[in-house]
Amino acid sequence: MSTPLVIVVTAFVLSLLVGFEVISKVPPTLHTPLMSGANAVHGVVVIGALLVAAVADNLIGYLLAFAAVAFGAANVVGGYVVTDRMLHMFRARGRATGRTEA
């Protein structure tokens, strides 16, 4: 039993529009963390990799599943960690400003 195609396409189109709406407001200062954060979000692919790996039953299937899970995990874990590292500096700068103004 699969989701009717029209539902999937609806979700796709509305998500694109929401994405345009939300992201066009991000200031240039945050463009790199935004891109890196968006990068981490497409790490959601790891869920797809898990679902594919779960039904693998031959050598080719296992190899493909291993690569997909490894790629997806690197994407999702690395993406969030590096975005956090970057944003930490943006916050630190805010504190530094507060000190000089005080």
Binding site: H31, G37, V41, V44, I47, G48, A73
Partner: protein
């Protein structure tokens, strides 16, 4: 169980949107990323719980999952923690590569395991393999160029016009073949190989300075591939999250292309000129005025307003801390210092902002293009550090390679100092008329060294 997991996915998708929304503001951005990451962790955990509840997953499959997850996570965390901030564009590019690659692998594995998937799955599957494989190989080449493993200048070779056409035809044939005969291994191999090759030849001819556009575009491609993987697996959370990223990448691509006044298509069809760091321009050298560190230090120390214009040279020399230190020193003397940041300065969107954030440059000192330009006429000194084409007044006249590109009006400052290693050209391969302006002094040195020396020289005036 399945329904509960779907609701968890919905909550995760909502959190991704809210997380991106919180990125609108530096004060809330970190919270947004944590929210998004937390939701992602919950969604992955729910997926694992779902697989356990099936009870049909073989031990081998679990081992494969565990090994893959351990390998990927270790590599991801290591890269994310260790990589220098100046190397951020490479890292983002690598994450684009693995995301797109994983999406393509999912479609390949799924089509191999299904006996009769139907066009409902083969069409998005074929497109997923196409876009995912292009994002994979294209991002790897882009990362190689940024890291210096692949020459950054546009690479021209025999058949450079023909090969992409042949590969594009191969891709098209592969897509049609695979949709017509989903069980055909040949179709799968043709499509995958042609798409991988196309990704390589697409990015190879693109010059380093066009990288902000290329990375944004590959980011959008990886997002789209993930979304298509969602179509293949009938998993809405992938469709939604992938589409969000596709939108983000598209917006950044458009913004970057506009900031260079070039169409995305034009950029993808290859860089102009001969590329980065061409030879010294004959004839122009006679007219430039070379200055010493002491001259510049005096100018800076007795100025009221100084505008620092950072570019890729600052990132390449990793000189952001030295720039910030010099600025702080000048501020102590009562000089007002601001930074004028062009949208495409550096190698990725917002590149300069991240570097200056690392150096703890206070926010109120940063100016974007629109804010900076009205302030240049009041500036006593514009200090250009490693920026080239984005400051070239030739962009205001028609008929040059960069005509119409929005530039920083550096030439409207009362005096200009350019820190540069040589008279080499920027990526556009044309002379920068700023350098021959009589009010411009050229300080020929490495950015890091020059900024350190300037700070030392200014300090002697403070005492």
């Amino acid at each position: 169980m399945g329904t509960a997991v779907q609701y968890i996915y919905l909550a995760a998708a909502a959190s991704f949107v809210i997380g991106l929304h919180l990125m609108n503001n530096p004060a809330t951005a970190r919270r947004g990323n944590l929210l998004s990451g937390g939701a992602m962790a919950v969604a992955v955990a729910a997926t694992v719980a779902l697989l356990i509840s099936w009870g049909t997953v073989s031990t081998t499959a679990w081992l494969v999952i565990a090994a893959g997850a351990a390998t990927g996570s270790t590599a991801g965390v290591y890269a994310a923690r260790r990589v220098h901030l100046t190397a951020m564009p490479q890292l983002v590019s690598l994450f684009n590569a693995v995301g797109g690659g994983a999406a393509a692998l999912i479609a390949i594995a799924h089509l191999l395991s299904e006996t009769d998937p139907g066009a409902r799955f083969t069409v998005p599957g074929a497109l997923d393999i196409l876009i995912g494989a292009v994002a994979f190989s294209g991002s790897l080449v882009a990362a190689g160029k940024l890291q210096g493993w692949v020459p950054a200048h546009p690479i021209v070779y025999r058949g450079a016009r023909l090969l992409p056409v042949v590969l594009a035809a191969g891709v098209l044939a592969g897509v049609l073949w695979l949709v017509a005969a989903p069980e055909s291994l040949g179709a799968l191999l043709l499509l995958t190989a042609a798409a991988l090759g196309f990704g390589v030849v697409m990015v190879l001819p693109i010059g380093g300075a066009d990288m902000p556009v290329v990375i944004s575009l590959l980011n959008a491609a990886a997002g789209l591939a993930v979304s298509l993987a969602g179509f293949v697996l009938d998993e809405l959370v992938l469709v939604i999250a992938g589409a969000l990223v596709g939108a983000a990448g598209s917006i950044l691509t458009k913004l970057m292309a506009e900031a260079m006044n070039r169409s995305v298509l034009h950029i993808m069809l290859g860089g102009f000129g001969t590329g980065d760091g061409g030879g010294a321009a004959a004839g122009s050298e006679a007219q430039v005025r070379s200055v010493t560190v002491e001259d510049v230090a005096i100018q800076l120390a007795y100025a009221d307003r100084v505008v620092i214009v950072p570019g890729y040279g600052l990132a390449a020399a990793q000189a952001q801390h030295q720039a910030a230190a010099l600025a702080a020193l000048l501020e102590e003397r009562g000089v007002t210092v601001t930074y004028a940041i062009h949208p495409v300065a550096g190698r990725m969107p917002g590149h300069m902002n991240v570097l200056l954030a690392e150096a703890n440059v206070p926010y109120p000192q940063l100016r974007d293009l629109e804010q900076a330009n009205p302030e240049f006429p009041q500036a006593d000194v514009a200090l250009v550090v490693g920026a080239n084409d984005v400051t070239n007044p030739a962009a205001r006249r028609p008929g040059t390679a960069i005509s119409g590109m929005p530039i920083l009006d550096v030439d409207r400052a009362r005096s200009i100092v350019v820190i540069k290693r040589s008279m080499g050209h920027g990526y556009a391969g044309i002379d920068n008329e700023l350098y021959t302006d009589p009010r411009t002094g050229m300080l020929f040195a490495d950015a890091k060294q020059a900024l350190t020396d300037l700070a030392a020289a200014v300090r002697t005036f403070v005492r």
